[in-house]
């Protein structure tokens, strides 16, 4: 190839329109990127498939009717497989955790986005993001050793006399709440900060107060991001293991009472799948069946939220 063939050439020379090379490097990069994208889909699919086999095996031994009932004692003799006990446990902890985390997280987000001076935001936002990275085992230990005695002191007996228990759902719920506040606050703050300044100015120019601008203009305009943060929080709460193992107890219990000792789906899996259960046994398969239930719950959560967001979000631009 001549060096002069790069440009359009001088007078009388035909300009060159063909590619000077096959550009293999370009293709290799594209292929590599596609491979990474596919990999995440493949692993997710593999996890689902690995759940399906043992779950089908499980339902050859246990009827759907028994599965969707209460009394969950898969390691007893005779075993009982009423999964609603541990589903209730997971819902119990998630419910109280979110009741704690959503208002505080959203209030923090509104403060940071609309009220805090740039200097305050610059300090608080990174701290929040660091909080989101605290290992959950540390939060679980904090919940068990610190939150439980406090709840027992300020709320002796709880309702229905539950808080006498050494471990109970509310302790894990508050721990999970602590874990999720930074997630909700940080993502919601991003969504609210992304609302164009013009929208705020339009409202201010009509005599809106700061609170009205925040709640009636910025909050609805950022709703899809806010809902996304809550969904992420709920998904984290549903799947959280260490905190519930350490603070919620290990008693399958069909209740939403926050001061009862409960067992969540995750804590059942973590405490049962230890290696001393016989592979292929019904107990072994029950771990996978419980995992499938958790997977379906999270999936349903995500699907509902996508619907909600499509329906209610305010699209700007």
């Amino acid at each position: 190839m001549e060096a002069t063939s790069i440009g359009a050439g001088g007078p009388g020379r035909r300009p060159r329109l063909e590619a000077p090379s096959r550009r293999w490097g370009e293709r290799a990069i594209q292929g590599l990127l596609a491979l990474c994208a596919v990999l995440s889909v493949v692993t997710t699919t593999a996890i689902v498939i690995s759940l399906v086999g043992p779950t089908i095996g499980f339902f050859q031994d246990v009827s759907l009717g028994e599965f969707f009932s209460t009394e969950w004692f898969p390691t007893f003799e005779p075993p009982q497989f009423g999964v609603l006990d541990i589903v209730a446990g997971t819902v119990n902890v998630t419910l109280w955790g979110m009741l704690f985390a959503i208002p505080i997280g959203l209030a923090a987000a509104i403060y940071l986005s609309e009220y805090a001076s740039p200097r305050v935001r610059k300090v608080i936002k990174p701290i929040l993001e660091i909080l989101a990275g605290i290992p959950t085992v540390a939060i679980g230990f904090f919940a068990a050793s610190f939150v439980i005695p406090i709840v027992q002191d300020v709320w002796p007996g709880g309702f229905l006399g539950g808080a006498e228990k050494p471990f109970f759902a509310l302790a894990a719920g508050l721990g999970i709440g602590l874990m999720i506040v930074p997630i909700i606050a940080s993502i919601s703050e991003d969504a609210m900060s992304a609302v164009p300044r013009g929208l705020r100015e339009g409202a201010y120019a009509m005599g809106a107060t700061k609170a009205k601008v925040a709640l009636r203009v910025v909050f609805p305009a950022a709703l899809s991001g806010i809902v996304a943060s809550i969904v992420l929080g709920v998904s984290r709460a549903l799947g959280e293991t260490m905190i519930v193992v350490l603070a919620a107890g290990s008693t399958p219990n069909f209740t939403l009472n926050p001061v009862e000792s409960i067992q969540a789906i995750t804590s059942f899996i973590a405490t049962t799948a230890t290696g001393d259960i016989a592979q292929g046994s019904v107990t072994y398969e029950s771990v996978f069946a419980a995992g499938t239930v958790l997977f379906v719950m999270t999936l349903a959560m995500n699907m509902i939220s996508i619907r909600l967001v499509r329906r209610y979000r305010e699209v700007y631009e």
Binding site: S117, P196, G198, L199, E201, G202, A203, Y204, A205, M206, G207, A208, T209, K212, R216, V217, P220, A221, E314, V315, Y316, E317
Partner: protein
């Protein structure tokens, strides 16, 4: 009608005092006004009287502080933490920056339309109803919404789709919706910060017609880049330029000339105004 708004203490008080002929009544009296962002000046030595039920245009090259100046008039600059306003700015004779003046109340009386149409991502109806709801206006909301849309001359175009999202409208319609939204809270003054700069000529023409109609009821101040627009719609025009210090470290806007629009465009007193309006510079 708007001036008799019962909650408007400042306006009512001012009207009682002096009674010059209507067209010469002053809405704003500005004396030696300057605005700084941090320690950098944006405009200096501004002095002008803005007349009631007139259209007043601010023209001048980019960076001359037109927008900064107009944003002083409804205290929008308060929202920028580093902004500092010095000098005197009277609104119907009352100090707009006085210690007891509430900027929220000021903005109810002095509305604003922005450069880029900024409807809320809500329905057309809710866009108009937003202001009356937050200021707690009494009366039938449907009537308030219809009235505002009619006065902004956009009712016929939107009456069949009041529940559609405002973002489905064209840019020109969005801007007229923003004007309707501004009118809905029954202000006394409408400030327009380059309201047509994002619009095509036909939409611009509609907004200019609308401004001429609105002049019956409101005082309008408009910032514009478009000299023909100022010439077409305004009664009074102020021409601002950028001043520089000798070392060019600081730049700020100042008024060169403020007079009746016709005089500014046909027989300006200052050579710099003439150069600008005849297109020799800028």
């Amino acid at each position: 009608m708007t001036q008799e708004h019962p909650s408007i203490a400042i306006a009512a008080q001012a009207r009682g005092h002096h009674a010059p002929p209507m067209s010469r009544e002053k809405v704003f009296e500005i004396e030696d006004l300057s605005v700084h962002y941090g320690d950098k000046p944006a405009v200096k030595n501004i002095g002008m009287d803005i007349l009631h039920k007139n259209i007043t245009a601010l023209i001048g090259p980019s960076g001359c502080g037109k927008s900064t100046l107009i944003r002083c008039l409804n205290r929008m600059n308060d929202l920028i933490p580093s902004a500092r306003v010095d000098g005197r700015l009277l609104y119907h004779g009352e100090d707009l920056y006085g210690p007891n003046v509430d900027p929220i109340q000021v903005r109810k009386l002095i509305g604003m339309v922005f450069q880029k149409p900024n409807p809320f991502p809500k329905s057309i109806y809710d866009n108009i109803a937003f202001g009356p709801r937050i200021v707690g206006m009494a009366g039938d909301m449907d009537e308030i919404v219809e009235g505002a849309l009619r006065r902004a001359a956009i009712w016929d175009e939107v009456k069949d789709r009041l529940n559609d999202n405002a973002f489905g409208m064209s840019g020109g319609q969005q801007q007229r919706l923003c004007i309707a939204r501004c009118i809905a809270v029954e202000p006394d003054v409408i400030l327009m910060d380059e309201p047509c700069s994002a619009l095509d000529p036909i939409s611009t023409g509609k907004i200019e017609d609308l401004m001429t109609e609105l002049k019956e009821d409101y005082s309008i101040v408009i910032v514009t880049h478009n000299m023909q627009q100022a010439a077409r719609v305004s009664d009074m025009t102020a021409f601002l330029i950028v001043e520089l210090t000798a070392d060019e470290r600081e730049r700020w806007g100042e008024i060169v000339e403020y007079d009746e629009t016709e005089k500014i465009f046909t027989n300006p007193s200052d050579q710099r105004t003439e150069d600008y309006v005849t297109g020799k510079v800028g």
